[in-house]
């Protein structure tokens, strides 16, 4: 046979408007601290599958989801196994939104003190929401305070 003659035929470039490329992933997580790691890994894999940059999916997504899930399970659902935590991820062209909501009474996030203050730095807790706020671009809560939305914008 003679040398292969390569002809490439490409998809036409009629790409749809960016706003169309939305992917929505939702996972219902039991109120159990032992499943946090598995749930975090599952969502991180889906973020990777949706094209979230690997570095963000491997680290930031995992840390902030772990924090939000732990809070939802411990403070929100107060370890009540009859309650559930809902995780929803919206992957758009411009941002990834991570939503975590619990069935608890909610709280007032504005009253959380800064854990880096000298009189708090040696405490064993109180760094969860602070880390979330440092690691993602935007954090929102619903009015009741039982649902957090963490937004990571694409660079």
């Amino acid at each position: 046979m003679t040398a292969p003659l390569r002809l490439y035929v490409r998809r036409s470039e009629s790409a749809p408007p960016d706003s169309e490329r939305r992917i929505n992933i939702s996972v219902r997580v039991p109120t159990d601290l032992d499943v946090v790691e598995e749930a975090v890994d599952l969502v991180a894999r889906h973020c990777l599958a949706s094209g979230v940059p690997p570095k963000a999916a491997r680290f930031v997504v995992r840390v902030v989801l772990c924090e939000a899930l732990a809070n939802a399970i411990v403070y929100g659902n107060q370890l009540d196994p009859a309650k559930r935590v809902d995780v929803r991820v919206e992957v758009g062209e411009e941002a990834v939104e991570l939503h975590v909501s619990d069935e608890g009474a909610g709280f007032d996030p504005s009253g959380i003190p800064d854990p880096t203050e000298p009189d708090r730095i040696e405490l064993n807790q109180g760094r969860g929401l602070f880390l979330i706020r440092q690691l993602v671009d935007e954090v929102h809560f619903n009015d009741r305070g039982n649902a957090i939305c963490m937004i990571m914008r694409r660079a």
């Binding site: 601290l33 032992d34 946090v36 790691e37 570095k55 491997r58 680290f59 995992r62 840390v63 772990c66 924090e67 732990a70 411990v74 854990p115 880096t116 730095i121 040696e122 405490l123 064993n124 807790q125 109180g126 760094r127 969860g128 602070f130 880390l131 440092q134 690691l135």
Partner: protein, 112 residues
């Protein structure tokens, strides 16, 4: 997640490697491991994060708590093997000012 514990017999340093995550679901296991070693008389500890994926705030909290307990008994805790991502967590929370952070576990163990 699992822990690797090894003892440097010459220097009397206990090196605990965290393989996987140090998070809300397993931080008590690390705490217990260190407390048990303290009961057996150990005073010099290195926690090695070279094989760690991520740490959450409750993992950081357990390190703060262990560090205090170890210092109270006249011992010392040094951290090693942190990659850039993990190091960022300590910097953001200013815990890098509280801990002695070394390069590799070998360096940390030799520094005692």
């Amino acid at each position: 997640m699992s822990f690797t514990v090894r003892k440097d017999d010459a220097k009397g340093v206990v090196v605990i490697g965290v393989d996987g995550q140090l998070i809300v679901g397993n931080r008590h296991d690390l705490k217990k491991k260190v407390m048990d070693a303290m009961e057996e008389g150990e005073r010099k500890f290195v926690i090695d994060f070279a094989e760690t994926g991520y740490i959450d705030s409750s993992g950081l909290g357990v390190l703060v708590s262990l560090s205090k307990k170890i210092r109270e008994t006249g011992g010392d805790l040094r951290l090693a093997g942190l990659n850039d991502d993990l190091r960022t967590l300590f910097e953001l929370t200013k815990l890098d000012t509280l801990f002695t952070i070394m390069g590799s576990a070998e360096e940390a163990a030799a520094s005692f």
